[in-house]
C-alpha cells in the first residue's frame, strides 16, 4: 500500500494509478467513480488491457483515503492483485469521468486477467420476478456484478464493443442506466432489456421455429419439459440437454439417445430447498452451491431417493448445481422442481456452442431447441467440485473458475505455453509472473476438442498480449498435445507427467521447500519408457529440475511394475488389468473373472506371455481397476474411472470405521541409475501388490463360502486401508533417509475421497505437513499448470 511520506496533506497532487487483478466486468470503474466523487477528487478512469488505469487529482489526504477504500473494500467479485501509483505534475480536471478504454496494446503495460462468467445476482433475480419491472421474465437480465464475461469476450479490455453484445444497440432506457453513476447498471457492458437485447426462440429438432403464439417461449418450453420431452437449451457457455429429472422415462430416452448408459447426470434443482430434499447439504456445500461460480457440487444422496435411480446409478453421490442464469430461474414453473442439465454434446465431443453445429449435432438427441441470439464466443462447461473436510476441491475447472490466474514465485520474465496432457486437457500460459490456466478442454483425440484447444491457445495469447518463447509439454510422444508441440519452432521443454502433477500441487500451495510427492494416477509415461502412476518423487519446486540435471527429479519409490496387456483398451475393460495382475502372480484368472469368456482370458494370458501389446506399469489407477474387477465384478466401464468410483462407493454402503488392512511388503532396492545429485546409486523403495491381492482373493473366496463379513464393501475398505498404510509406511521410510517432512498429494487417484481423507489423517498423525489440490484439479486437468511452473524453474537455472 502506498503511503505518501512527510508531505503536507492539504497539498494538491496528481497520480496515475494502475490496478491489476480481476478488475474488469466487476463494476470497478463505477465504484471508483462514486468513491472519487464522494471524496471530491477529479480525473478519469479507464480500462486498459485487462486492468484499470486512472489519473486522480485532488487533496493528498483525500487521495490517501481513496486508495485506502479501494484496497480495503473493493467491489464484490473484484480481486485486486496490485495497485501501482506514479506521482504526476498536478493537473486540473473539470470533474471525474469514465473515459473510453484504451485497447492500444503498446501502451498496455499491465499484466492481464480475464474475468470469468458469474451467476445471476439476487437483485437481478428480484427484477425478473417482479411483474412491474421492465425486465420481468427477461432471460438475459444482468448487471455490473453478474452475467456473462469470458464466454462472450473477443478481446480485452472487457468493453461491450469487444464482446458479442456489440451486436445489440442499447435502447434509451438501457443507455441511461449505463450512463448514470447511481445506477447499478452504470457501465454494465452487457446491459440489455426485452426491447433491445437478445431474444429466445423455440424450435423443433429440425430447427424449424415454433410459433407459440402469444405464449412466451419459456412457458412453452416448460410445458414440453413437463410432457417428458428433451430440450437442447443454449445457456451461458454452451448448450445443455435438459429434461425433467423426475421423469424416469425421459431420462432413459436421454441416456439411449446420448449413448451414455451409466455416467451420472447433473441435476439442477429449483432452489437450495429443493436440493436439500435430494441430498445432504453441509454449510460449506451450501456456500459453494450458492457462490457466484455456481459449480456442479458432488453431494451425498439422501436415501430413499426421491428422484429416479437412473440419474446416477451405482453411486451414492449426485452432481447438483443451482440455477445460474435468468433463463434457468424462469424454467422452474408449473411444478417443475428438478431438471437434468447435461452438457449438450455427442458422447466424447466437446460441448456445442455455435447454433449451426448444435442444431446439426444434437438433432437426433433432443426433441426441441430453446436458443437465443447472443453469440457464445468461447465455450465453457460447468465446473465440477466436491467438498472434502470443509474445503472445495475443483475436479473440473471451467465456468466461474477459469481462466484462473495464479501468481508464481519465480522472478523469471519468460513466457511459457504449457500444453497439458491428453485427456481432461487444459492449457496454461505463464505471462508476467502469473500462470493463467484455461478451462477444461476435454479429450484431445476428438477432432472438435482439439480444434477448440488450439483456438483457446490462440485466444489466450491475444487476450493477454503474450508471445510465449517456450513450450512445455509431456514426454508422451503419442499425446496430440506433444505432437503439436513438436511441430513448433519455439524452444521446447519436456516435463515428465508425474513431475508436472507434483509441481502443480506445490505451486498451488506456494510450497517452495523440499517435499515428498505421492503421485497416484492412471497413466503417465515415465523416463524409463514404462507407464508410471504409483510414484514417490522427491524435490523442491525450484530444484525438481535442478543443477545440470535438466528436468530430472528423484524418483525414490514406486509401486512394483506389472506387465499390463491391452494398451488403452485395458482402461475401458478393467478385467484386463485383473488378468494381467493375476498372471504376474501365477494365479488362474478364470475362477475370479467368471463373467468374462474363458477364451478371452486365455488370449490375454497368451498375449502377456508373448509380449504382445504389453507394457510395464506402476499405475495406481490400474491397481484400483484390478481390485474393482475382482471385488465388484466390474469387468467393463462406460465412463471415466467408473470401476474405481464404484469400488469406493461400496465402502460407504456397509463399513465406515474399519481399520483392517492386508499384509503388504516394501522392497528396498538399489537403483540401477546413478543419482545425479549425489553421484551414488540410490536406494529405491518398491511397494508390492502380490501380497495385497492375495489377501483380497482369499477374502473373496471366504465371501463366496458364506463367511461372515467378507462383503465387497468390507474388502474394498480393507484394500483402501492397505494402500493408505503402505503409502504412509513408504513415506516414513523416505523421511527417515532424507529428513523431509512435507508431503504433496497429486494425481487423478486422489479424486477418491476415502483415500485422500485417510491419507491426510494418517500423515498428520505421523507429523507430516500435507499438501493437496483445491483450486487446481488433482487429475490431468492440473498438468498444464505443473508443466508451466516446472519449466519456468528449469529455465531459471
Amino acid at each position: 500500500m502506498y503511503e505518501p511520506k512527510n508531505e503536507p496533506m492539504n497539498d494538491l497532487a496528481s497520480y496515475t494509478v494502475y490496478i491489476t487483478g480481476i478488475v474488469q466486468g466487476v463494476g470497478m470503474r463505477p465504484y471508483i467513480f462514486k468513491t472519487a466523487e464522494h471524496l471530491g477528487l477529479r480525473g478519469w478512469v479507464s480500462n486498459q488491457g485487462s486492468g484499470v488505469v486512472m489519473e486522480i487529482a485532488g487533496r493528498r489526504i483525500s487521495i490517501r483515503e481513496f486508495l485506502k477504500v479501494l484496497s480495503e473494500n473493493p467491489p464484490a467479485g473484484a480481486k485486486i492483485n496490485r495497485i501501482k501509483i506514479k506521482p504526476q505534475c498536478y493537473g486540473e480536471y473539470p470533474n471525474f469521468s469514465i473515459i473510453t478504454s484504451s485497447s492500444n496494446s503498446s501502451d498496455n503495460q499491465l499484466p492481464g486477467f480475464i474475468p470469468p462468467d458469474t451467476a445471476i445476482c439476487d437483485q437481478c433475480i428480484k427484477e425478473i420476478s417482479d411483474q412491474t419491472n421492465r425486465r420481468y421474465l427477461y432471460p438475459f437480465t444482468n448487471c455490473t456484478t453478474c452475467g456473462p464475461r469470458y464466454s462472450i469476450m473477443k478481446t480485452l479490455p472487457y468493453d461491450r464493443v469487444n464482446t458479442s453484445m456489440a451486436a445489440f444497440e442499447m435502447c434509451p432506457a438501457c443507455r441511461s442506466e449505463y450512463e448514470s453513476p447511481d445506477n447499478r447498471r452504470f457501465h454494465a457492458q452487457s446491459n440489455c432489456c426485452p426491447d433491445c437485447g437478445p431474444k429466445l426462440t423455440l424450435m423443433d429438432s429440425k430447427g424449424k421455429q415454433l410459433d407459440s403464439g402469444s405464449i412466451h417461449p419459456v412457458a412453452a418450453a416448460v410445458q414440453l419439459l413437463r410432457d417428458g420431452r428433451l430440450i437442447g437449451i443454449k445457456g451461458l457457455g454452451g448448450y445443455h440437454i435438459a429434461c425433467n429429472a423426475q421423469d424416469e422415462k425421459a431420462i432413459d430416452t436421454l441416456r439411449k439417445r446420448k449413448r451414455r448408459p451409466e455416467k451420472p447426470l447433473a441435476v439442477m434443482p429449483a432452489s437450495l430447498e429443493a436440493a436439500r430434499l435430494i441430498c445432504r447439504v453441509t454449510d460449506k456445500e451450501e456456500e459453494t452451491l450458492t457462490s457466484i461460480q455456481r459449480p456442479i457440487v458432488l453431494l451425498k444422496k439422501r436415501f430413499p431417493e426421491i428422484l429416479p435411480k437412473n440419474i446416477a446409478p451405482g453411486i451414492n453421490r449426485l452432481g447438483v448445481m443451482l440455477p445460474y442464469t435468468p433463463l434457468h430461474h424462469l424454467l422452474f414453473q408449473e411444478g417443475l422442481q428438478y431438471l437434468i442439465m447435461t452438457s449438450g454434446n455427442v458422447s466424447g465431443m466437446p460441448i456445442c456452442y455455435q447454433d449451426g453445429a448444435a442444431l446439426a449435432e444434437l438433432r437426433d438427441i433432443v426433441d426441441f431447441f430453446l436458443i437465443h441470439d447472443r453469440e457464445i464466443l468461447t465455450p465453457i462447461d460447468d465446473s465440477v467440485v466436491r467438498i472434502i473436510d470443509e474445503e472445495v476441491m475443483v475436479s473440473r475447472s471451467a465456468r466461474g473458475y477459469a481462466p484462473s490466474a495464479l501468481q508464481i514465485n519465480s522472478d523469471s520474465e519468460c513466457e511459457i505455453m504449457a500444453m497439458g496432457a491428453e485427456q481432461k486437457s487444459s492449457l496454461c500460459l505463464l505471462h508476467q509472473g502469473f500462470a493463467h490456466a484455461t478451462q477444461y478442454l476435454g479429450n484431445l483425440d476428438d477432432m472438435n476438442s482439439y480444434q477448440e484447444y488450439l483456438q483457446v491457445m490462440k485466444n489466450m495469447q491475444v487476450l493477454l498480449g503474450a508471445e510465449p518463447q517456450f513450450i512445455a509439454h509431456d514426454l508422451h510422444p503419442g499425446y496430440l498435445s506433444t505432437q503439436w508441440a513438436m511441430k513448433q519452432s519455439a524452444a521446447k521443454i519436456p516435463i515428465q507427467h508425474h513431475h508436472a502433477h507434483m509441481a502443480a500441487c506445490m505451486a498451488e500451495n506456494s510450497l517452495t521447500e523440499d517435499a515428498i510427492g505421492i503421485i497416484y494416477d492412471g497413466t503417465g509415461l515415465g523416463t524409463d519408457g514404462a507407464i508410471w502412476g504409483g510414484e514417490f518423487l522427491v524435490g523442491s519446486i525450484g530444484s525438481i529440475g535442478s543443477k545440470g540435471s535438466k528436468g530430472k527429479f528423484a524418483r525414490v519409490g514406486h509401486w512394483k511394475y506389472v506387465t499390463l496387456q491391452g494398451g488403452d483398451s485395458a482402461v475401458k475393460e478393467p478385467w484386463k488389468s485383473a488378468a494381467s495382475y493375476l498372471y504376474a502372480m501365477g494365479v488362474e484368472s478364470k475362477e475370479y473373472l467368471a463373467s468374462v469368456s474363458s477364451l478371452k482370458v486365455k488370449m490375454i494370458e497368451s498375449a502377456i506371455s508373448n509380449n504382445i501389446n504389453c507394457f510395464q506399469s506402476s499405475s495406481m489407477g490400474r491397481l484400483f481397476d484390478c481390485a474393482a474387477a475382482l471385488v465388484m465384478g466390474k469387468t467393463h466401464i462406460t465412463y471415466d474411472a467408473q470401476a474405481a468410483i464404484e469400488l469406493e462407493n461400496a465402502i460407504a454402503a456397509e463399513v465406515t470405521d474399519l481399520t483392517d488392512f492386508y499384509p503388504y511388503f516394501i522392497d528396498e532396492k538399489i537403483d540401477e541409475e546413478i543419482d545425479e545429485k549425489t553421484d551414488k546409486k540410490e536406494e529405491k523403495l518398491e511397494i508390492g501388490y502380490k501380497e495385497i491381492l492375495s489377501g483380497i482373493l482369499s477374502d473373496i473366496k471366504g465371501g463366496k463360502e458364506g463367511k461372515e463379513g467378507k462383503t465387497p464393501g468390507y474388502i474394498s475398505a480393507k484394500f483402501h486401508n492397505t494402500v493408505c498404510a503402505a503409502t504412509i509406511d513408504c513415506v516414513c521410510k523416505i523421511r527417515k533417509k532424507r529428513g523431509i517432512n512435507n508431503v504433496v498429494l497429486s494425481g487423478g487417484v486422489f479424486e477418491n475421497t476415502y483415500l485422500l481423507r485417510n491419507l491426510k489423517v494418517g500423515l498428520k498423525e505421523r507429523g507430516f505437513r500435507t499438501y493437496y489440490h483445491r483450486k487446481i484439479p488433482t487429475n490431468d486437468g492440473g498438468i498444464a499448470l505443473g508443466q508451466a511452473v516446472a519449466a519456468a524453474h528449469m529455465i531459471k537455472e
Binding site: 466424447g348 485427456q423 497413466t523 483398451s569 484386463k576
Partner: protein
C-alpha cells in the same frame, strides 16, 4: 555417446525416418523428391520405368494365406504398382540358415513362381548365401523389381474432395501373422490378404487417369499410410468408420488384444486416391477385379492444412487417428 540401433529404427516410424535422414543421407544422394518414395520412377527412352527393393524377415515363414516367398514377390510388385507400374523383372536374394529344410525352400520358391506367373513378372537374377546356424532366423529374402509405368498414370497433388478407396478388408495380414506367430488359442478361418496388386494398373483402364496417388498400407496399417499421405499433401483426411471394411475376426482379435485394426498391416490392399467425383465409378470397376470384392470408399480429403487424419465414428464423433510414435503406448489416464 555410442548410440545403438534398436528395433524401433526398423519399424517404419519416426526412428526409421530419422535413421534415413540423419545417417544414410549423409552418405547417399538425397532422393529427388523430398521423401523417399516406395518406388523410384525414371525415364529410359520412350518408357517410364519404376525401380524398387524390399527385404523380408517375417516370422513365422509360413502363415495362413501365404509364406515369406509369396510376401517377398507381392511386396515388391505392390511397391511398383503404387507407381502405376506393371512388373517386368525381379531379383531375389536369399540368406539361409544352415540346417534349413529343403522341403520348405521348395514350397517357398514355388509360391514365388506362382505369383510371377500370375502377374507376368520374371525373376531374372538372384543370389544365395548360407550362414551359420543362429546367424539368421531360418530365411531372409530380398527382392528388387523393375516395372513399366502405365501411360495413363499421372500422379497429382490431391485436393479437398478427392476420394479415398481401399481395395479390401484391412489388417488381415497383420492379424494372421499374430495368430500364426503366437498360440492365442483362437480358431479362425482368417487368412492373410497377401496378394499382388499389379492387375489394378490394367484393371483400372481409363480410370487410372483419375487416380491421383496410390499407396500400399503395409507396416503401420492404413492409419500410418494415410497420415503419411496427409502430411505429404498438406491436407487433411476424413475417414468414415462405417465404410471401412474390417472382417469380424480382425475386429474381434483387435478388440481383445487392444490393437486398433487401423494400424494393422495389409499385404494385398491398395489405398487409391480418386479425383473428386470419380470415386463411385472407380469403385464399381475395382469391385469386379480379383481380390477387390470388398473395396470401399472410406473417406476423402478435406481442406485443413495440418496434415491430420480423423475418422467419423459410429456414434457420430470425429476421432483423431494419430501417427503411432514408436510402440503403441497407452494414453488414457
Amino acid at each position: 555417446m555410442d548410440e545403438k540401433i534398436n528395433l524401433a529404427h526398423g519399424d517404419g516410424g519416426v526412428d526409421t525416418q530419422g535413421l534415413i535422414r540423419n545417417l544414410f543421407y549423409q552418405y547417399f544422394d538425397e532422393p529427388l523428391s523430398n521423401s523417399m518414395p516406395d518406388s523410384f520412377v525414371f525415364e529410359a527412352g520412350q518408357h517410364k520405368l519404376a525401380f524398387t527393393t524390399d527385404s523380408f524377415v517375417v516370422k513365422p515363414l509360413f502363415f495362413r494365406g501365404g509364406n515369406i516367398g509369396k510376401l517377398a514377390v507381392c511386396g515388391t510388385i505392390n511397391d511398383l504398382a503404387t507407381a502405376g507400374a506393371r512388373p517386368l523383372f525381379l531379383s531375389a536374394g536369399f540368406i539361409i540358415e544352415e540346417g534349413f529344410s529343403m522341403e520348405k525352400l521348395h514350397l517357398i520358391a514355388k509360391s514365388m513362381s506362382d505369383i510371377c506367373q500370375e502377374t507376368g513378372a520374371k525373376i531374372v537374377t538372384g543370389d544365395t548365401k548360407v550362414v551359420e546356424r543362429g546367424n539368421v532366423d531360418g530365411l531372409f529374402i530380398n527382392t528388387s523389381g523393375i516395372g513399366i509405368v502405365s501411360d495413363n498414370y499421372h500422379p497429382q497433388q490431391a485436393e479437398p474432395g478427392d476420394e479415398i478407396i481401399i481395395t479390401g478388408g484391412i489388417g488381415e495380414h497383420g492379424t494372421s501373422i499374430l495368430l500364426a506367430r503366437y498360440d492365442l488359442g483362437m480358431e479362425t478361418k482368417l487368412t492373410s490378404d497377401c496378394a499382388p496388386m499389379s492387375f489394378l494398373i490394367n484393371g483400372l483402364g481409363e480410370h487410372l487417369k483419375h487416380v491421383k496417388l496410390m499407396k500400399d498400407p503395409t507396416r503401420g496399417g492404413i492409419a500410418t499410410s494415410l497420415n503419411e499421405i496427409a502430411a505429404e499433401q498438406a491436407l487433411e483426411v476424413e475417414l468414415n468408420e462405417k465404410a471401412i471394411p474390417v472382417k469380424s475376426e480382425v475386429d474381434a482379435i483387435g478388440d481383445i488384444l487392444g490393437i486398433d485394426p487401423l494400424y494393422l498391416a495389409s499385404e494385398g490392399r491398395m489405398l487409391i486416391v480418386a479425383e473428386k467425383g470419380w470415386g463411385e465409378k472407380m469403385l464399381h470397376q475395382i469391385k469386379a477385379l480379383d481380390y477387390c470384392g470388398e473395396a470401399q470408399i472410406i473417406g476423402r480429403f478435406t481442406s485443413g492444412h495440418q496434415g491430420m487424419v480423423s475418422m467419423k465414428t459410429l456414434i457420430g464423433g470425429k476421432r483423431i487417428v494419430p501417427i503411432l510414435e514408436g510402440q503403441m503406448l497407452p494414453r488414457i489416464c
